[in-house]
């Protein structure tokens, strides 16, 4: 009985680490779709750099999971050989770079992309992680705390970048305002998922691996509201379906992201270059 409970706690611990890792990897992969297609050169480079930070965070977390699992898993097997239902990222991070009612049904990298959607998503997620990473520096999982200390430094610049563009576009031209407002209307309902804790988060909070996620909500709301206000944008009400990507229930878009990301590794397992 005690053993079964310990095993369950260990698997919840790993589930939580995968949640953090998958968030970083999937958003990193999505943002990397801008590489070579950025609206201006500086933003092309900025997006590639942010992706690099995110993929770096994911790598450290996957390496940590692989060590804990000690079953032959590697950072590569975790990134390339798990299926969509095994991924624990927030649904909002896998969505394509356009409000889904305006584009094709499946968000592949070749679709027409909307930078406002990219910026709003980066802002909503960075605003959360700018609170969560510092809290994770106190984690009872020492390796997670070390990774969090590194990521805390990085997310500050991600938030600054997206917040800056959000204000520039919101308080900008009629067209930029319209597009960033429609991106907010589209993405904000997905953030409800941040605040409904799942088993991994509840167990994690109980044993000090992570904070109670709800404890960050008021600060997040304040940051979002203040920024939207400065950007002359309106916040839509928190209504509608609460997504469950972090429980493995994803939108149809994740399979396309993974198809692109995992294709090479799966067609040529062990390939080296």
């Amino acid at each position: 009985m005690v053993q079964a409970e310990a095993a369950s706690l260990a698997s919840q611990h790993i589930g939580y680490l995968l949640h953090l890792a998958d968030n970083a990897l999937i958003l990193g992969q999505r943002n990397a779709e801008w590489c070579g297609h950025g609206p201006v050169l500086e933003e092309d480079i900025a997006m590639a750099n942010i992706s690099l930070d995110l993929i770096g965070q994911a790598r450290f977390l996957y390496q940590h999971v692989a060590e804990l699992q000690a079953d032959g898993a590697t950072e590569d097997s975790l990134a390339y050989f798990r299926n969509p239902e095994d991924f624990r990222n927030y649904t909002v991070l896998e969505l394509p770079h356009f409000p889904t009612n305006t584009g094709p049904l499946a968000g592949t990298a070749s679709a027409e992309c909307d930078y406002a959607t990219t910026i709003v998503r980066n802002f909503l997620y960075s605003a959360l992680m700018q609170l969560l990473w510092p809290a994770l520096e106190q984690s009872t999982d020492g390796q997670l705390a070390a990774i969090a200390a590194r990521a805390t430094k990085e997310v500050r610049y991600h938030l600054r970048h997206s917040r800056d563009w959000l204000i520039r576009m919101g308080d900008g031209t009629d067209e930029s305002h319209r597009r960033v407002q429609s991106a907010i209307d589209h993405l904000m309902p997905y953030t409800q998922e941040f605040w409904i804790s799942n088993v991994a988060e509840e167990n994690g909070a109980r044993i000090g691996i992570c904070p109670e996620i709800s404890s960050l909500r008021a600060q997040w709301n304040r940051l979002v509201d203040d920024t939207l206000d400065e950007a002359t944008l309106k916040r839509p009400p928190d209504t509608g379906y609460v997504t469950q990507g972090k429980n493995g229930l994803h939108s149809e878009h994740l399979s396309y992201v993974l198809g692109e990301m995992q294709g090479l590794a799966r067609q040529h397992p062990g390939a080296q270059w």
Binding site: L52, I147, R160, I167, D171, E230
Partner: protein, 193 residues
Amino acid sequence: MIALKQRFSMSEVEAILSTIPDPEIPVISIRELGILRDIQVNTDVLGNASLEVAITPTYGGCPAMDQIRDDIVSALAQAGLTARVSTRLTPAWTTDWISPEGKEKLRAYGIAPPHATGSGQCHQQTTIQFAPKKGAADAYSTVAKAQNDNEAIQCPRCNSVNTTETSHFGSTSCKALYRCLDCMEPFDYFKPY
């Protein structure tokens, strides 16, 4: 196969490691950059000594880390030394670890060196805007300009502090793009982390 040298002095090892340049900014060594954290000698049961070099990554996704690891192993191998490179995450690397000599070399290379992480630059919340409708009066006061001398980013070419940020990210994650309003040249600023 390189024969394992069993006797070596620590100063010899340090001298070798001090010559390894950063792959992205080759004017500065990995020691000056503050990546090199520790050197330890491990001796196995047969009395063979090997080195363990601990490095701390600058940025999680820094693609130069693998290169640095290879460079350390091969530089020591050339001197007949076997080494293993380990990654140390705590404490996290900070730009405050870049040595004064390293900062001077960065400046001479055309990169404005980072301010101390405690300075205002790190938490600066200035916004680059184009056509603000709201608060138009202070539109251009929000341009990322230095608030005071402590926060001023000095042009590495003409030393002017009359500079402005053009992009939060430069050619690599660790840098931002700036422009000097006196000599009009663009330059990189190494962001405080």
